[in-house]
Structure formats: structure tokens, C-alpha cells
């Protein structure tokens, strides 16, 4: 199998003082599971809509929508993670690893960066660590997960793959207020 290629052709971009960092995490296995709330898959995944949980095997389980979960894991584990889902009843498991670009915005100013391009209330009590939600980011529909790192806010943002390059540029553009520089060849225009 040839290497997995991300739509984002840029490495991480950070502000010099580290207050914000934008990086590509597209190379993550992403498995979407649909199952009725009374299914055994749902019981197994055991995360309500809007929340997330790190499974013992390292898989991050997100309640992305009512009766829908997205599972994140290392990119080579896609098949294994997909196979781990209990498919008793009407359950579907779709590997969307190739279908979604994913990036992370992190650092003390991550919330301020996101608040420039996303209308959702990101206050700690409205969107706590672990919160899963969907919204528009720089005019692209995205799934978001707040997953803090080392006490600083951090957001995993995924979008339809074809928007990936644009969205990355938009997030870096939003970070320039806090000192990040747009790398050569990257522009929102």
C-alpha cells in the first residue's frame, strides 16, 4: 500500500511564544458508527451525544450525533477499530479516514483563535474539555472535539477532506493575531 497522503501540505504552525499551534492530524483512523440507542453497540460505546471518552485500547470515542459515534485511533488501526464494533441489529460502520481532514488547534490562545471563526460559545462551562459538537468553522461545516492538552485548551477539528487545505489556512490566518505566521504558499484567498 502506498503512503497515506493528507490534503494539508503544511507542517505545524505555531506562534513563536507557543500561545497557539495549528497542526495536521488527518492521518488518524476515523470510523463512524450508527446504531440505535438501544443497540448493544451503543451500550458498548457508552458515550452520550456531545461527549467523548478515551477507551482503554487508546481509541477515542466521540458521541458526534444522536445515535452516531466517531472513533479515532492510530491510522493503521482503522480495520481493527472498525471490527471491534458490535454489529448486532441495525448498525453500520463506515471508515471515513479518507473522507475527513483533521487538524488540531491548541495552546493558551486556542479558544480565542477558534472564537474568531466559530460562533459557538466556547466558555469552559458551555464547552468543557471532552465536549463534542458540530458547527461552522470559517464557513465550513466541521465536527469538533475539545480535548485539552497539558492544561491548555485544544480542539480537534475535522471537515470534509476537500476543504482541508482551506480550513487549515483559515485557522492559521486566525492565529496570526496571536503571532503565528502564514507559511509560504498558504493563504485563505
Amino acid at each position: 500500500m502506498p503512503d497515506f497522503k493528507s490534503p494539508i501540505a503544511h507542517g505545524p504552525v505555531s506562534a513563536p511564544d507557543g500561545v497557539v499551534r495549528v497542526e495536521d492530524e488527518t492521518a488518524t483512523a476515523k470510523i463512524v458508527v450508527r446504531a440505535g440507542s438501544d443497540s448493544s453497540a451503543a451500550a458498548d460505546l457508552s458515550v452520550p451525544f456531545g461527549q467523548s471518552r478515551l477507551r482503554a485500547d487508546g481509541t477515542l470515542v466521540c458521541g458526534t450525533r444522536p445515535d452516531e459515534w466517531t472513533l479515532f485511533a492510530a491510522v493503521d488501526r482503522a480495520a481493527e477499530v472498525a471490527a471491534s464494533v458490535d454489529t448486532e441489529g441495525f448498525v453500520s460502520v463506515v471508515d471515513i479516514t479518507h473522507g475527513r481532514a483533521m487538524m488540531r488547534v491548541s495552546g493558551p490562545k486556542a479558544t480565542a483563535v477558534l472564537a474568531k471563526v466559530c460562533n459557538i460559545d466556547l466558555a469552559d462551562d458551555m464547552t468543557p474539555d471532552g465536549a463534542v459538537f458540530s458547527g461552522s468553522v470559517a464557513n465550513v461545516t466541521c465536527d469538533l472535539l475539545r480535548s485539552d492538552r497539558a492544561g491548555d485548551p485544544s480542539y480537534l477539528i475535522s471537515c470534509e477532506r476537500s476543504f482541508g487545505n482551506y480550513l487549515f489556512a483559515a485557522l492559521v490566518d486566525a492565529s496570526t493575531e496571536f503571532g503565528a505566521g502564514l507559511p509560504a504558499g498558504l493563504s485563505i484567498h
Binding site: 463506515v94 479518507h98 464547552t127 480550513l167
Partner: protein, 952 residues
């Protein structure tokens, strides 16, 4: 240069250590850091800043703040800068606007002499004859008189602006004592607060007040700054309150952008804008040297500028009285201190470039160069009106007061009554606590409702009732006059005479009067004019002010630049995994919706020919792709497509057309069955989103009992069509796990296998080009490898990429129509020539009754293939098909190209049913006016109607 700068004042905001050089009408000036453009010029003795709009009258400082109607200047390439509030920056090139040839001498000033003819609306009553004169002469002259600054449309700052969102519990509009009190109390109650102040510093009127005011200011400011729960946003205006407390805040001096728009969803809004001083209407009231009391106090106390030497002051309130004290302290001689409360008055001011003589109410004429007016207030109720309030006029206090506010909006401070600083702060604090309690309760509700927030612990905060002690309404005389030549609207040059005349002509409601005279339609939007205009109308109609009302306040409260409203340019662009490759290989980009695609690689005709002769590959990723799973997918397909779907075996693909509930063709594509309960549906590129939402709609609201899961996989599968007689040979070199022989894998079938080592590719035998072709759907992370492998392994076969334009040629040769190009918003299924595809005997399909009705009709247009009789003529797409030599329209060409395969032009067109039979001659009107004939073809396909090529 005359030095009008006073010795140091206790509250001054200028930094005398930092001089700033700038130019005014080309001449060099200096001011201090902290000056506005106007204060710096006034300090240097400048008295005339502008010419008025209609009569070109000289104009000077009037309010010395943002709303000053006379201080509009051009700064470099920026028009309409408010010199009364724009801070001076070194190097500014400032000039007067709306003057010709110069501010000193303006030719247009002759209008003053003919002013009596230029009453409001005069232009409606003349210039009608002769007809051509209006357009060719009068209108051009009128346009020359347009006021305002100049646009330098070569220098753009589009995209340099910025925006952000905010979600404060409490947003306070106005940073005077009341607003600061509200912010502090709300923050103390645990609310997150955004405090917005229009001026460059907090403080409101305290800033230009006395020692006690300055002390109170210092105390309040440090309390605000000390509280971490308050975000202070200065030099910023709350410009709009929209439904559900969606607030627009324009931030002017932000370091990263010329202006920034903050969009805030506030749970509670506290409106604390204070009051705006109202001008007085008397003859000559627009002469330079006539200033409002606030203007002289600001000039003296903030910028240490002496506003004149000999002053007449007319005061009706303590602020007017305080102006007298300030003037005296500044060494201005008070020629007359008139008390409006005691009936003293000013009748007229004379003077051209500056006040010279003042005629007083008692008949005396005195000489003075400054007239100071402190006769009352306008309540800036704009934000309250936007929140649905209809403020009510109170004659005893001579101003409007808030009436009925929704729960999420509270008012405090001067807009609600009068008080000492302590009383204002106390009222502000009470308002802030109330606002916080309501906001925190609403926040609790939101947390309960939003799944991501998890349920809040703790009880629901209480909804406090309003127990505030209202501020007093101190009696104030109503100082209005309508029977003078004074200006009511200085920006629009509308006098009270004009208003009285308009009322007599039938424009006797405030709204009609506004539209006829343009009063309140200028840059200050009624802030200075609206109450005076109502008062004039009330007197003219002998009615009460209360029954007249005001014109409607609308956003923005303070004008906001288009650049800030636009903000950053966030225009999402979609790129396939191969787009970088296309661009690196000379593809000319084609923007199709949000997608950027390869239109061609330099030679569309050659690329098309290559497909017919050898093999070509095209990136068709934007095709919508939906993964459908579940036992009820067939039912869904039966519902949304016009054709039958029951007997689609695993491994087969079928073409389908969709219509909307009105029977109009809405989309098309193929759907393949990959497994027992697993299908892949494709849609048109532009229809992908709509089809997905439509499927969800019917699944969720119409047939919730059906078990179907829909997943959009458009970008996840990179779609590559491999087409041409040699494509099988090419694929044989790369495909594993699939028998590509025509017998094992015939037309309209689907297989899964690996391509160039990439597993899990979906391969189906279909194509838009009419050639033998396979469409590969490759996991996008590996798509580039597959694409490059196809090219690398087919060199000997002549493989070449082709773009969208070649595909358009090829599909037209084959007669495949494009929804939206060959069909339009009225094309019902039978018109598209779907023939037997449509099944009317299904129990349920979208638009079924309309389909039945349409098939019963004989008058619907038909889509047909047409060949111009002259093979070299390619009629333009949209060329009309007409009835012989007449102009009667019988159809149109919807697609046309020169066919490289046939060496002749080929078309699709919609025609009247009378022309639809094969062999019918039609007349086509070319764009150059020629009429040519064409012949309707038997099949839509011009090339290979039997399908030998695609079935190979």
C-alpha cells in the same frame, strides 16, 4: 497660526510632550498625541472645516464629537472621516470634502442666493421638460453636487479587517458612570461582562467634568480594570441590537485591523448611552462659532482648546451652566449668559466665516464670536427601539424615555433619568445585578439544553424582579422653535421652513416629511435632528409631540466600514486529492461552485480526441457520493428516483433520474449495489448537498421506520474516469482481484478490487463520454498514487489526462444531457426524453401525481438532438429556435459544440413538441442575427447511438 491652546487642564487627554505633524488642505500643522483632528486644527485657529451640502455654507465645530455634522474630512484615501472623534496620527493628510474649487472659495455658494427656489423637493417639481434634458444635463449637474469624500478605488483594504464572536453574559453599551456601575455589579454577581465605550476612554461625561467628576472617574475606572470578569472594549460602538440580543460591536482602533466587528450573543444587554445634546433652531444656527455646551466643555477640558474669545451662552440646564464656568476658567469673556429657564432666548446669529453679532430675545444685538447652546437632550434610544421598545415623549422633561423593554434588555443612566454621579452609579449597579441574574439564569438553561455542556450542577438561578429606584426626571423646558429659518438638519441643509412647507403640502406625517425633505437621512441619522423635526411638525399641525412620534431608528447606530462588515475573506474552496497535480501539469482551473477543477490541460479538443482513439483519464471527484446502508435502501431508491429499483442485483449499477415533488427534473446519477444492504449513490456535483439533505428529510420525517444510514463520502473517494478504447488494456496492468473481461464485467456493473496496489477501490463500468470506460473510486489518501500509476503504465497506450471541457464535448457527442443546462426550472420528466425510464405504476415516488399529469400532456417541450444543416455552424448555447422568419420562439439550443469525432457541429435543444419528431427542420437564430436551419435527430446520441463503444 493662532495659538488657541490653553495652559494645562486637570483632565486633559493630550500629551504635550509628543507633537504630531500633519497637513490640512496641503498646509502643515501640528497637534499633540491625544488630539482629535478637529481639536488640533481648532487649537491652531482653524474655524471653518467644511461647506454644507446644498447651500455650500461654511461650517465649523458644533458638537466636537463623533456626531458633529460639520466635521467630515478626507484623510488620505479615506473619505468621510469624523474629525471630531478621529485621533490625530502623525503624517495624516487631511483635507476638506465637498468643496470646489476650495474651502475658502466655493462656487456652489451661489446656491445660498437662490436658496429660496431650492426648497425641499424642488427637483420633483421641475426639470421635466424637455425630456432629454433631464437625463443629459440636469441629472449630471445634480450628481456633481453629491456630497462626501472621494474613493480611491485602486487602493483596497478588502480582507485586512477582522471579526470575532463573543458570548458575554452581560453586554454594557456605554462606559459612563452608569454603564461602569452596571459592569462592576454584574461582574461581582459572577457574570462575564463586555463593557463597550464609544469614546477612546471610559468615563462618559465625567471626562470633561469638574474635580469631583474626575475623582469619581478615577475610582470607577480602577474598579472596572481590576475586575477580571470585565472585558473593556473602548473606541468601539455597539452599532446594532438584532433579534435575540445578537449584538454588533465595531471596534475602531484595534492593532491588527483598521476596524474589527465583534458579534456578540449577549444574554443581557444593558443600554447606558447617556444623552446626546440637542441643537437649537434659530436663524444662523449653523454659523461657525455656534457650538453646543458639550462641545466647548470637551474642547476646553479634554484638549485644552479655547473655543472663542467673546461668548453668548444660552443655557437651560446644569450642563449649560457648567459650560459658563468652564469658559470663564478658560479666559473667554461671557458677553451674555442667557437663562432659557427664565425665558431668555437667542433669535438670530449673523456672521459669515464666524459668528459676529447675536440678536437676543430681548431685542438687543451684541457682538460675539462664540454662541454656546445648552438647551436640552436627545435620548439615544436607538438600541432600545431595535429591541422593540417604543420610547415615549415626556414633555415635562423635554425628552423621550424608555417604555417597555424585553427581559433581556435593561436601560440605565441618563437615558432613564437624571441624578448625581453617585445616583447614576447606584442605578447602574442595580441594573447590572439585575442583568446578571437574568443572564446567569439563561446561561443555566442553555447548559441544560446543550448536550455538549453537560447538565449544570446547582439550582437554577433566580429571576430577580425589577426593584430599582428609578432616576428622577428633572423638569426641563421644551426649547423648540419652528417659525425660523434655522437649520434642523445640518448635514442635509434642511431648515425648519422646509419642514413646515412639506407639512402643508401633505407630507404631514413624520415619515413622509422625512422622505420628502430628507431630514434625518444624513450621516447623523436623526441623533441631532429627530426631536427638533418632530417639534416643528407638531407645531405646524398643532398637535402634541407625543402623537407625532419620531422616524425609525435603524442600525447601524454608528456607521461601519464595508471592510469591517466583510471581515476576512473566508470563501471555502474544495480541492480533490489530485488538484495539486493538475495545477502542476498545466491544468487551467475552473471554478465550479466551491470546487476548483481542471478545465483542460491546454488542448481540450485533442484531449477529447485522445479519449475516442486511445485512453484518457479525468478527475471527477466532485461527483456527489453517498454511501447507503440498511435493509430499506431499495425502498428509498424507489421513492426518490423515477425508475424502478427493486431488481438490482449485487454487482450491478443503474442510472436514475430524480424529480422534485412538482415533477421537475432535479438531479441524476448512477447507483450501484455493492452488497446485500450496501449501495453507493452518485449525484451531480452541484446537487450533492441538496440530495443528501433531501434523503435525510424523507428518511427522518416521512419514513422514520425505514432502516437506512446515509454517509456522505464525496471527498473520501477520489473518482477517476478511465475512458477510451484502450482503457481496459490499461487497467489490466493495474487492477488486481477483478476479472475485467467484457463477459465477466459488462457495462453497468460494479466490482471491488485493488488498483495499483491500493485495496478497496470501487470500479464500475459506466461513463459520461460514451466510450468504453471504468470509473474508479479510490480512497483519497492513495489517489495520487493511482493517478500517477495510470499515467506511468499507459504511456505506450497514449494515455492522457482530460479536463471538464473535453468531457463536455464527449458527452454531447453521446447525447447525455446535463441537469440544469439542458433542463431548466420547469423541465418535467417527460420533456427530458426519459421515455420508458419513468415508472408511473409505483405506489409512491416523488412528484408522482405531477408525473402522471405531465405524461398525459402533449404540449410540453421536448429535449432533442439537433444538427445544424451547415456542419461548420456552431450555434451558441442559448440560441433561440424560432418559427421561420417570425420572432415566435419555439425552443432553444441548450448545448452545442463542434464534434471532433464527426467533424461537424452537434447540439441538444429544447423544442416545442410540434418540432420534436426526427427529421423536422428547425430555424435557429444565431447571435449575429442570421437564421440557419437544423435537423432534429432520431436519437439524443450523435455518436454511437447503438452503444457499441461503451458496451465493448
Amino acid at each position: 497660526m493662532t495659538g488657541n491652546r490653553l495652559p494645562e487642564r486637570p483632565g486633559e487627554v493630550i500629551d504635550r510632550g509628543t507633537s504630531l505633524a500633519f497637513t490640512w488642505n496641503g498646509q502643515g500643522y501640528t497637534g499633540y498625541q491625544g488630539d482629535t483632528i478637529a481639536s488640533a486644527l481648532a487649537a491652531s485657529g482653524v474655524e471653518v472645516f467644511a461647506r454644507s451640502m446644498k447651500y455650500k455654507r461654511r461650517r465649523g465645530i458644533m458638537t466636537a464629537d463623533h456626531w458633529d455634522p460639520n466635521l467630515f474630512v478626507q484623510v488620505g484615501d479615506e473619505p468621510n472621516v469624523r474629525a471630531g472623534s478621529r485621533c490625530l496620527v502623525a503624517g495624516m493628510e487631511v483635507s476638506a470634502q465637498n468643496v470646489w474649487p476650495s474651502l475658502k472659495f466655493d462656487v456652489g455658494a451661489v446656491n445660498q442666493m437662490v436658496g429660496r427656489f431650492l426648497t425641499s423637493g424642488f427637483y420633483y417639481k421641475t426639470f421635466m421638460r424637455p425630456k432629454w434634458f433631464w437625463h443629459n444635463v440636469y441629472q449630471k449637474v445634480l450628481r456633481k453636487f453629491a456630497p462626501g469624500g472621494r474613493i480611491f478605488w485602486e487602493s483596497s483594504t478588502h480582507g485586512a479587517y477582522d471579526k470575532r464572536y463573543a458570548h458575554p453574559d452581560v453586554l454594557v453599551a456605554g462606559g459612563g458612570p452608569a454603564g461602569m456601575g452596571a459592569a462592576i455589579a454584574a461582574a461581582e454577581a459572577g457574570a462575564s461582562v463586555m463593557l463597550v465605550e464609544h469614546e477612546p476612554e471610559l468615563g462618559g461625561h465625567l471626562r470633561w467634568g469638574d474635580a469631583a467628576d474626575l475623582a469619581a472617574l478615577a475610582e470607577l475606572t480602577s474598579a472596572v480594570e481590576a475586575h477580571p470578569g470585565i472585558e473593556v472594549v473602548i473606541d468601539s460602538t455597539v452599532t446594532g441590537r438584532y433579534d435575540h440580543n445578537w449584538m454588533a460591536v465595531v471596534q475602531r482602533s484595534h492593532e491588527i485591523a483598521p476596524e474589527r466587528l465583534i458579534k456578540a450573543r449577549a444574554a443581557s444587554l444593558v443600554v447606558a448611552p447617556g444623552l446626546i445634546e440637542r441643537p437649537y433652531v434659530f436663524a444662523g444656527n449653523d454659523t461657525p462659532g455656534v457650538m453646543l455646551s458639550g462641545a466647548v466643555r470637551r474642547l476646553i477640558n479634554l484638549w485644552a482648546v479655547k473655543p472663542g474669545t467673546r461668548a453668548v451662552v444660552l443655557s437651560a440646564n446644569p450642563e449649560g451652566d457648567a459650560a459658563i464656568a468652564d469658559l470663564e476658567a478658560a479666559g473667554v469673556e461671557i458677553v451674555a449668559a442667557l437663562d432659557a429657564r427664565a425665558g431668555e432666548d437667542i433669535v438670530e446669529v449673523e456672521g459669515r466665516g464666524r459668528v459676529d453679532k447675536v440678536v437676543l430675545g430681548d431685542g438687543r444685538t451684541v457682538s460675539a464670536d462664540l454662541v454656546v447652546i445648552g438647551i436640552g437632550w436627545t435620548a439615544p434610544t436607538s438600541l432600545l427601539n431595535m429591541a422593540g421598545d417604543r420610547p415615549v415623549y415626556d414633555p415635562s422633561a423635554a425628552r423621550y424615555f424608555p417604555n417597555q423593554l424585553p427581559d433581556g434588555v435593561l436601560a440605565t443612566g441618563g437615558i432613564t433619568g437624571n441624578g448625581t454621579t453617585d445616583e447614576l452609579v447606584a442605578h447602574g449597579r442595580a441594573t447590572g445585578s439585575l442583568a446578571a441574574s437574568r443572564a446567569l439564569r439563561s446561561r443555566h438553561d442553555r447548559r441544560v439544553l446543550a448536550a455538549r455542556a453537560r447538565n449544570p450542577e446547582g439550582p437554577k438561578p433566580e429571576f430577580l424582579q425589577d426593584t430599582r429606584t428609578p432616576l428622577a426626571r428633572v423638569p426641563h423646558p421644551e426649547c423648540y422653535r419652528s417659525s425660523t429659518h434655522g437649520m434642523v438638519d445640518l448635514s442635509e441643509d434642511v431648515s425648519s421652513k422646509d419642514l413646515v412647507q412639506a407639512s402643508k403640502e401633505g407630507f404631514d406625517s413624520i415619515e413622509l416629511m422625512k422622505r420628502y425633505t430628507t431630514v434625518t437621512m444624513g450621516p447623523s441619522q436623526g441623533k441631532l435632528e429627530t426631536v427638533n423635526a418632530s417639534a416643528v411638525l407638531a407645531e405646524a399641525r398643532n398637535m402634541d409631540m407625543v402623537d407625532i412620534g419620531t422616524t425609525v431608528w435603524r442600525p447601524p447606530y454608528a456607521p461601519i466600514s464595508l471592510g469591517a462588515l466583510a471581515g476576512r475573506i473566508f470563501e471555502p474552496i474544495r480541492r480533490s486529492a489530485l488538484q495539486d497535480w493538475h495545477e502542476a501539469h498545466g491544468a487551467s482551473p475552473l471554478l465550479a461552485g466551491q470546487w476548483v477543477r481542471p478545465d483542460h490541460y491546454g488542448d481540450p479538443v485533442g484531449e477529447a480526441r485522445n479519449v475516442r482513439q486511445n485512453v484518457g483519464i479525468i478527475d471527477v471527484t466532485p461527483l456527489g457520493k453517498l454511501d447507503l446502508r440498511g435493509p430499506d435502501v431499495t425502498k428509498l431508491l424507489e421513492l426518490v428516483y423515477v425508475n424502478k429499483w427493486q431488481k438490482l442485483d449485487i454487482g450491478r449499477v443503474r442510472y436514475g433520474t430524480m424529480v422534485a415533488e412538482d415533477g421537475v427534473v432535479s438531479d441524476d446519477g448512477v447507483t450501484g449495489r455493492l452488497g446485500e444492504n450496501h449501495y453507493l449513490m452518485t449525484t451531480t456535483s452541484s446537487g450533492a448537498g441538496a440530495v443528501w439533505e433531501m434523503l435525510e428529510d424523507y428518511l427522518q420525517t416521512y419514513r422514520p421506520e425505514w432502516d437506512v444510514h446515509v454517509t456522505a463520502v464525496t471527498g473520501g473517494l477520489t473518482s477517476i474516469n478511465v475512458a477510451g478504447p484502450k482503457c481496459r488494456e490499461l487497467l489490466l496492468r493495474l487492477v488486481e482481484g477483478v476479472d475485467l473481461s467484457p463477459e465477466a464485467f459488462p457495462y453497468f456493473h460494479v466490482r471491488r478490487g485493488s488498483v495499483a496496489g491500493v485495496a478497496d477501490c470501487i470500479i464500475w463500468r459506466i461513463g459520461f463520454t460514451g466510450e468504453l470506460s471504468y470509473e474508479l473510486h479510490v480512497p483519497s489518501g492513495h489517489a495520487l498514487h493511482v493517478w500517477e500509476s495510470l499515467l506511468a503504465n499507459g504511456e505506450d497506450l497514449g494515455v492522457r489526462p482530460f479536463g471538464v471541457e473535453s468531457q463536455r464535448i464527449l458527452r454531447l457527442e453521446k447525447g447525455h444531457y446535463i441537469v440544469g443546462q439542458d433542463t431548466d426550472g420547469l423541465t418535467k420528466a417527460p420533456s427530458a426524453g426519459l421515455g420508458g425510464l419513468v415508472k408511473l405504476d409505483k405506489p409512491d415516488t416523488l412528484g408522482l401525481p405531477e408525473l402522471k399529469a405531465a405524461y398525459a400532456r402533449t404540449d410540453l417541450p421536448m429535449l432533442v438532438a439537433i444538427q445544424p444543416d451547415d456542419p461548420q455552424v456552431v450555434p451558441m448555447e442559448a440560441a433561440q429556435i424560432v418559427d421561420g422568419d417570425s420572432n415566435r420562439i419555439l425552443g432553444r439550443i441548450t448545448s452545442s459544440r463542434m464534434s471532433p469525432t464527426l467533424g461537424r457541429s452537434v447540439c441538444l435543444g429544447q423544442v416545442d413538441p410540434s418540432l420534436a419528431a426526427a427529421g423536422t427542420k428547425v430555424t435557429i437564430l444565431l447571435i449575429d442575427g442570421r437564421r440557419v436551419t437544423g435537423t432534429v435527430q432520431e436519437h439524443h446520441a450523435h455518436v454511437d447511438p447503438e452503444g457499441v463503444r461503451q458496451n465493448a
